[in-house]
Amino acid sequence: MLNILPRIRIPLRCYSAVLTARNENFAKVKQSDIMAFENFLGKDGVQKDDISNHTTDWTGQFKGHGSLVLYPKSTDEVSAILAYCSKNKLAVVPQGGNTGLVGGSIPVHDEIILSMNKISQQFAFDDTMGILKCDAGFILEELDNKLAKHGYMMPFDLGAKGSCQIGGNIATCAGGIRLIRYGSLHAHLLGVTVVLPDEQGSVLHLGSDIRKDNTSLHTPHLFLGSEGQLGVITSVTMTAVPRPKSVQSAMLGVQSFEKCCEVLKLAKSRLCEVLSSFEFLDDAIMECLKTNLGLHPVLNSPTPFSILVETSGSNEDHDMEKMSAFLDELLSKKLIVDGVLAGSSADAAKMWKLRESAPLAVTRDGYVYKHDVSLPLNSYYELTNVMKERCGDLAKRVVTYGHLGDGNTHLNITSSKQNENLEKLYVSILIPILLLIFRMYPFLYEWVVAHGGSISAEHGIGQLKLPYSNLGKESEERLLTKKLKNIFDPNGILNPYKMI
């Protein structure tokens, strides 16, 4: 019986994929195609068996039916593959570390998977200008460790840093916990090498390897967040930032959401140049962390909201002085009721563990409906309250955590997975799940757009949000993106059934 549920669940959660029929204009992979690929890439560049880790995402919610994974080792090999696929109308899905949350790198039907895993040879770093140029297949953490030797770091940090690749980060315009300090990747991208899915497999070197270049349309930025629709990124040039010498973390207990916003305002003015994170957790996620993972809050007195503030600077004494003046002001103005500073890196790790374990904690409830939306702050937590009321008893928990400093909420709604017998299955599980789903969608996304928000703050559209991708975007813009796609990908073979 336990095996039945995932099979039922998948169509429920990815009905966009199920509703999208295979485009019969695309050819099916034949033996002659495989031989051609083996010819360009060698036998070890083509994998036909044991590819489930490429056809499924890490959360298990997306599953495609692709039968072939290709591992090019260079831009030229990518070019040969895309030229061949374009000529032969073979659909292709580019894939990096496969850590996405919207199914953007998973085949929907039988697309060929173009894995970037082996494109990780070229690495160059200019430690005076702080400019990094490297192949797209490098893992984020690996790059960060390399930069550490030069006193630099990557300007963004994600939970998936141990697996995600820089090419994928650029293709999805990854966000993460340092955005409040260093800005989005748009502030850091200088250039890309891309291969277009046209019949020549055109290789383009866009942007440049220098910090300032205002000579053309800013074409590299078209590929930032393009989700593999326009071309395949094989090399990235971007800026890195100096690695801070002092990092301070503090957990704050706050009684109301309005006060959380006041705390944010004060953090921006008092911690100003050293503020590097401003993360938000409500009491529902704290309870979930305690029950599901045994992680206890660090504050002694429970409060409806907790805020994790981090500063990164160059002088510990100065940063501590700023932090203590900030905390003092918060307490004096009664904006917080409790505050704990990390006294050591072990303490800081405990605080961050709470925030970073939140996505895992919710999965232990059974079924989880994850959301990634951004809203003006006056509607940020109202969404949680609205959804709590709307889902009522159908939901086990409605929890919220997220990057408050960026207006980005990760509202998660969970429901229980009960081990009932088979006859009860439909009544006890399937029907409540269906009811819950119909309660949530499209209501939630419509509500977000009606309140001036975005239905995808940082995770992207992929397969998951395709049915809602017109929400909040004018039809002219949708049309423009289709026209652009057509210029780059005339045969529409690259990452079909998604985003555009």
Partner: protein, 215 residues
Amino acid sequence: MEDYKYLFKVVLVGNAGVGKTCLVRKFTQGIFPPGQSATIGVDFMIKTVKVGNDKIKLQIWDTAGQERFRSITQSYYRSAHAIVLVYDVSCQPSFDCLPEWLGEIESYANRRVLKILVGNKVDKGDEREVPERIGRDFSDVNHFDYFLETSALDATNVDQLFEQVATRLTNDMKITDERVHQYRADATNTSSSSGGPIKLIDRAQTQLNSCCSRQ
């Protein structure tokens, strides 16, 4: 700006479970939290007290004791005006660790920091393992500025502890202030190079001279 005359940072240290958090909570909020779990990090609290006619703000940093030594960033010690070292009178091992804590304070804190020794949990009566005389002797031998025994449970000496901290720091500060005023007055009278930009080259020369003269 708030109206207070002085702001002082007070850091509490000592082994885990000696009742540092309870002392601070009792003082700042008047509550004794039951079933206190181990503190993580540094709990931060403020309280304004009166010394004479002056309002004095205390920033109280309550450190986690569980990792004992070197768990606290050195700058907590460096920036402290007063350090309150706490042990539990009903727990001999917490008293036996005092020399190690003292070593930590001497390594990192400002030399003129106010040092206060506190034996907590005097409410435990029969379970006492460290007599008051032993605590007082330790305090004298190691040049603590003040010693007292407290109970966060029944509030014995809790207010007195922080009042002492505030009073002693305020008095010290007033003496320093007077000296500064005197110095400024002297400086104005002799009308030396007050005001104007500091020339780095002059300063370097002065430092060089003073280095040479020391040889």
